[in-house]
């Protein structure tokens, strides 16, 4: 699967302080978990698409979302089939008690899908715009080692994929047929790939640890050569993310606009809901209109 890796661009989002980028993603995560109204969730999702577009990363974003759609649809389908609480049953299943498809179940599944898409969408935008070194340097404030582990694994992921490819080539060159036989045979046939991959990766890990130590890693307190301050656009992004969290909780708990799906759909609509949805979408996409400050600043 082509994971969404950082792509350098000159955009408002790329130029944000890494803390602001992470806050943005967390804001959308909270909003998506708290909100249940489909209109609100659609607005949040739309906001993340605006962000992707403003980061000039729509192509990479779509490449990953398209693949993710399959995963999401499977999750939703299982949920729809396994939930028997809907009143308007449209398909009773093959006499199996627990399988039934209802209009309510389908509607709930659709809302689940939108929620899932909103979350995945914003984290895709995050990983397309957050340089792995920014993450390391952000984490270095409180957990340098974890940050470094995370950034090293992003760096090494393509290397391991390449290793696996070259091992498959090597074993086939020797005459092994890795795809022959039944399932058990195929599992066994993976050993010639798994064993060399494991040992290669272990040796690489030991080698990198050795090189890091030789360069003074872990010798004591570190310094940071890029101590970026938060500037006003970063504060705006942090503010809009916080406001998004507060507004979501307020909309879900206080104002209402909370639909119910079972046993029958009850979807509150009206001007208030419409305006609230527009505001949510605007909050999410606000960073798109910030000035761009010359690409990623790397912590």
């Amino acid at each position: 699967m082509p994971l969404p890796f950082y792509r350098p661009r000159d955009s408002p989002l790329h130029g944000l302080h890494p803390a602001a980028k992470v806050a943005l993603a967390l804001g959308v995560l909270v909003a998506s978990l708290v909100l249940t109204h489909p209109l609100y969730l659609l607005a949040v999702l739309a906001g993340t698409v605006v962000l992707a577009a403003s980061a000039r990363a729509l192509r990479g974003w779509w490449g990953f979302m398209r693949l993710f759609a399959l995963v999401a649809l499977t999750v939703v389908a299982i949920n729809v089939l396994a939930s028997a609480r809907g009143a308007t049953v449209v398909w009773g299943g093959l006499g199996l008690g627990w399988v039934s498809v209802s209009v309510e179940g389908l509607a709930f599944g659709a809302v689940m899908a939108v929620r899932l898409f909103a979350v995945v969408s914003v984290f895709t935008v995050l990983s397309l715009t957050l340089h792995p070194d920014e993450l390391t340097q952000l984490m270095s404030r409180f957990a340098y080692r974890s940050g470094l582990a995370l950034s090293l694994s992003t760096r090494l992921y393509p290397v391991v994929v390449r290793d696996a490819g070259s091992i498959v080539d090597a074993q086939r060159s020797r005459g092994l047929d890795l795809d022959a036989g039944g399932r058990l045979a195929r599992m066994r046939a993976r050993l010639p790939v798994v064993v060399p991959l494991f040992h290669t990766s272990m040796e690489r890990a030991v080698g990198i640890a050795e090189a890091m130590e030789a360069r003074g890693f872990g010798s004591g307190p570190r310094t940071r050569w890029r101590a970026h301050r938060l500037e006003w656009p970063d504060w705006v992004a942090l503010g809009s993310s916080s406001l998004l969290c507060v507004a979501s909780v307020w909309l879900a708990r206080v104002v209402g606009g909370t639909p119910t799906f079972y046993p029958r759909i009850d979807l509150p609509l009206g001007l208030v809901v419409l305006v609230a949805a527009l505001l949510l979408g605007a909050l999410v996409s606000l960073p798109a209109i910030l000035p761009s400050r010359g690409g990623a600043r790397h912590g």
Binding site: D133, Q137, S166, A170, R174, G175, P196, A211
Partner: protein
Amino acid sequence: MPGTADAPAVEVRGLSYWYPGANVPALDGVDLTVRRGELVLLVGRSGSGKSTLLCALDGLVPSYYGGRIRGSVTVDDVVTRGRPVGELARHVGLVFQDPELQMVMSRVDNEVAFGLESLAFPPEGIRSRVTDALSAVGLKGKETAFVSELSAGQAQRLALASVLATEPPVLALDEPTSQLDPEAADDFLARLDRERRARGVAVVLAEHRLDRCLPIADRVVVLERGRVAFDGTPQGFADGRWEGASEAVLPVLSAAFRDGAPSPLTKDAARALAAGLASKGRLRVVPRASPAPGDVLVGCRGLRFSYPDGEEVLRGVDLALRSGEVLALMGPNGAGKSTLARHLNGLLRPSTGRVEVLGQDAAGRAVSQLARDVALLTQNPGDYLFERTVAAELALTAHLRGLEGDAASAEVGAVAEELGLAEHLGAFSWDLSAGQRQRVALGALLVGAPRVLVLDEPTRGMDGGHRASLGALLRRKAASGGAVMVVTHDAELAALSADRWVVMEAGRVVAEGGPAEAFGARPHYAPVLWQATAGVPGPRPALCPSELRIIGGATR
């Protein structure tokens, strides 16, 4: 702690070291002194203790590896015993063999800054140090590039910049050019030499490619089984002035002119010496016999290949590999050599054009079938190894090639014997050294005697002795009616084994034929001795020391 000006940069006294669980010491009473600003070339066969000694300088041995140690190491006036590696990093900068294994960050400038940050350099001074170090190695302008986008040569220069930036008084480099093509290797060494002179740092450089390094060395130290066998001038080393000196550890030029005057240290000196000997009629080149060309075993015609992203890597290649011959395929990185090799056994299929194996179109045959006739050794020998023992690894290939029972055991035994693996048959391949593993992988391909053997860069990190044995093995394979194609940057391996050269550039064959044709068109693929004897009268210059005859014996 700054060292006093006249104290040596490195002082090793009576150093012995045993890896955990080892009975034989990796280092056995080593004494070594390196003065400030001096470049010491550390020479020795694989497993002689070179890497161990380098790791002992900055404390990785013993604090990272464990094991027992005796004796003392003093670097920059600091006694290393009991000090953490991280602290010693201020005094010793280490550059390893594989650039990929030493990169930590994703961006070039952050990578250089990593060491400075780890050693807590003041943040305000880091930027200028990063800039200086990157310009010193010719990577200015690459600050924001991804480390993964660099070529091997650039990555190794980045590794050098990363240690130069912290300005340690001692640099220790472990075969830094072994993964680089000849041009990148020369460039790396030239920059290393310039920077160490400009900065006055002491350098300990472990290398196998000696002809390349000798001209920049101030002194040479030879390790044999963990002991110092020789410690003296480059001239004394080149002349082989120690007991047990063998061609396996000598530079090619020394091996070639051992019967002449003092050994030449540079190509120019060798050329002058050869010209002098030739003018007195005392130098003769006796080319080794080339076999009569046999049948075409593998051929391709009009081969074109593009990757799915549209990049055309092969642009119409014609090639015929005949029985009895060893063919050397050379050319810069990215020329399409490995891609071509992967077409010969069907791992890749041509976009247009045709590949024939033993007279049959390869298009209709699976890789597992083609592999019986064409064995391909890819660049990482570890990729082949997964069985519990070396014997099982070889037996598996025997089984895949249809050998069972006594016939299989006999074949496994014979191949193990030929590769010097007989004593390791019960070992787990991953417990063996890199060189031994490579022979296991080669063995796993040679079992069942496939007609065609294709090797991709088989001599990376290999010492002169093992290179000579590999060259001999390839000759034997060809002489037994097989055919060998070796994809290599190593002009010396080609010189030892090849009958025919093919040079590729940008997906096309640009030179082909015997050495005279190939090197006439592309002189920088010629081995060092060929370049040194180019003006000598005779059928052609010499490829390797065994082709050179000096008449009248030593004049020393």
